[in-house]
């Protein structure tokens, strides 16, 4: 469902815009034009504060105690209880923080890896190999993005309960190993980045299809695959609806663990928000390392095609 908010799908709509080749030339002229004034920076600082404030707020409350929020002389400086609150979170037997963290890490990583592999293969076929029905099949792939997750949850739950998979992390990994958005994204990227002559040359030299894919496709796909992997990882990490339905409370992922934390500690928000911050730290670290790629991935997806 969140895969539907795909930047790459834009290109369906945007392919009707004819001015693509002019873009590069315009980028050089824009550097001179329209230097930003004070108000632009003032506006951006307001936006920055808006983006960061909720993180600071959760640290503020999460480092206090249960009375901080009712305190009439409320201070805007953090208290000293964050470690204590965080310890309460990770040791609460009802929340299962460490298993949740591990489950989130490995399920998101496996999902991201699987999506990258299946999407690169399918994207390669759609972009560069010619076969009967490739066009309607690609349209079909894009159309599946409109099918809501909710439509499948009841039978999937029954099916997984039959197989004895409910409560297993596999139950959230298996349905997520392919992605319509991923296939579409890789198709768009590979179509532009590999010249057809290269593939024909490889074929004439007698390379098998899989070898052509491996030596040309995979190499060319790397940058887009990295972005897709990153995007899929974040989406899988934050996913809540299906994990909440199918996983046991004793073996959750982080978002499910957070919901348990809320129902156990709703009287003491300092612990809940310490847990929120704790569960967000891994993705914040990832963002520090790879946020730039995430930004350019979203922006590239928006104009490609």
């Amino acid at each position: 469902m969140s895969s539907l908010n795909s930047p790459a799908a834009l290109s369906i709509v945007e392919s009707s815009i004819p001015d693509t080749p002019r873009r590069r030339h315009n980028r050089t002229t824009r550097i001179k034009g329209r230097r930003a004034g004070f108000w632009v920076y003032a506006g951006l600082v307001v936006v920055l504060i808006g983006s960061v404030f909720p993180f600071y707020w959760s640290f503020l409350i999460g480092s206090g105690d249960s009375t901080t929020i009712n305190d009439p002389d409320f201070s805007w400086l953090p208290g000293g209880n964050f470690i204590a609150n965080a310890t309460t979170v990770v040791t609460d037997p009802a929340v299962n923080f460490w298993p949740a963290l591990w489950n989130s890490i490995y399920s998101s990583a496996l999902i991201a890896a699987a999506v990258v592999v299946t999407s690169t293969l399918a994207g390669w076929a759609f972009a560069k190999l010619h076969f009967r029905g490739s066009k309607p099949l690609l349209v079909f792939v894009v159309a599946t993005m409109a099918v809501p997750m909710q439509l499948g949850v009841v039978p999937l739950y029954i099916l997984f309960a039959d197989l004895g998979w409910t409560g297993q992390i596999g139950a959230i990994i298996i349905p997520a190993i392919t992605s319509a958005f991923g296939v579409f994204w890789m198709t768009q990227y590979l179509r532009q980045s590999v010249p057809d002559e290269l593939i024909e040359a490889a074929r004439v030299d007698g390379a098998s299809m899989i070898r052509t894919f491996w030596t040309i496709g995979v190499v060319a796909a790397r940058p887009a695959a990295a972005m897709l992997g990153l995007f899929t990882f974040v989406t899988a990490w934050n996913n809540f609806f299906w994990p909440f339905i199918v996983l046991d409370r004793s073996d959750p992922t982080l978002p499910v663990a957070l919901s348990l934390l809320q129902s156990n500690h709703f009287v003491d928000y300092s612990i809940v928000l310490a847990g929120v911050l704790l569960s967000t730290i891994p993705l914040l670290l990832l963002f520090v390392v790879a946020g730039k790629q995430l930004v350019s991935g979203i922006m590239q997806g928006a104009v490609k095609g």
């Binding site: 469902m1 799908a9 824009r30 936006v47 909720p54 099918v147 809501p148 909710q150 179509r191 004439v204």
Partner: protein
């Protein structure tokens, strides 16, 4: 898309047909046969994972949901008794469904409209010639990495009825406190704020990318003609963003109608409020399916939700079609004119 349109006939046959044509005729060996099958079957093999998975976790559940929705499902026996459209009737006659439908649309409108307006303005700021581009772009995307559940917990705290931050500030400046968890409208505002916090930056970047694709000459020409910054924004920037805006609206509609995480976490019971103030369709589906364990009704509701999404999607598509067709007619005319001038 255009590359395949022009190329396929040539390159599809060339590699397979070329070797026999050049060399003396001989019987195709095992290798050639293998190679031909390789060429023919590989594409299907490569796309098969997606289609197999879609059949199992997409197509089958859709059909099966339809079957279950016509049944009174028994969880113990794990089978159902066919009862026709009774479950649909039950849903449509349940006032909670209509409340949930109203809430879903209300939250959707409160989140998408302000979000788009703000995103356009932030994108316009980022589109200026600013220092530290990457830094500012990253700063708008930070909220996106936070899980909706986490965002919901933070904002539920800030929008607390008694000791919340927002009400604290409101009372400090002399305004009355807002009943965020009692009044339906204000609970929708609070939930929409969570959605906006997480998605505004994401849509900003998409719009920014579209803005950067606008040829700068347009602005130069407009400046020469004496158009001010605001006029340039309304007459050049906004019309050029039409296609992108349509895309963003379509995706946020489909996502918005499925909203679950935020309303679920808005209070500690997760049932949509004591008087269903913020009960949404998906939350209602969860409560029926995994609260009351009535899968027949949950399946019927899932289909109703799907039909609503399709309906809204078709409306979107109709609007998009007419808008795009407008552009399509305009473009060739302009080209014809140019040709005429040259001739």
């Amino acid at each position: 898309m255009t590359t395949t349109q022009t190329r396929p006939p040539a390159s599809a046959t060339e590699p397979a047909a070329a070797p026999p044509a050049g060399r003396p005729v001989r019987v195709l060996g095992f290798r050639q046969n293998l190679s031909r099958w390789d060429l023919k079957l590989s594409p299907y093999l490569y796309i098969s994972p997606f289609f197999i998975m879609f059949a199992v976790v997409g197509l089958f559940p859709i059909g099966y949901t339809a079957v279950i929705s016509l049944m009174d499902w028994d969880l113990v026996r794990n089978s159902g008794e066919f009862i026709g459209f009774g479950q649909y009737v039950w849903i449509l006659q349940n006032p909670q469904f209509w409340t949930a439908l109203r809430n879903t649309f209300s939250i959707f409108l409160l989140s998408s409209v302000p979000q788009l307006i703000v995103a356009i303005f932030i994108a316009a700021m980022l589109d200026r010639n600013i220092r530290g581009k990457t830094f500012w772009r990253m700063s708008v995307l930070v909220p996106f990495v936070m899980a909706p559940v986490a965002v919901a917990l933070i904002f539920s705290n800030m929008f607390g009825d008694v000791h919340g931050l927002v009400n604290g500030i409101l009372t400090d400046i002399g305004l009355p406190a807002v009943p965020w968890h009692k009044d339906p409208f204000w609970s929708h505002v609070a939930i929409a704020t969570m959605v906006n916090f997480r998605w505004t930056g994401y849509n900003t970047l998409i719009l920014l990318a579209a803005m950067q694709a606008i040829p700068r000459d347009y602005y130069e020409a407009a400046t020469v003609d004496g158009a001010g910054a605001f006029r340039q924004f309304t007459s050049i920037t906004l019309p050029s963003l039409k296609a992108t805006l349509i895309f963003v609206i379509i995706t946020s509609t489909i996502g918005g109608l499925q909203i679950f995480d935020e309303p679920r976490m808005f209070d500690n019971t997760g049932e949509g409020g004591p008087a269903q103030q913020w009960l949404t369709i998906t939350l209602f589906l969860y409560n029926i399916g995994w609260g009351e364990w009535n899968f027949g009704r949950a399946a019927a509701l899932a289909w109703i939700l799907f039909l609503i999404i399709i309906l809204i999607g078709l409306i979107n598509l109709a609007v998009t079609r007419t808008l795009v067709r407008d552009e399509g007619i305009r473009a060739p005319k302009a080209r014809k004119k140019q040709k005429g001038v040259r001739a």
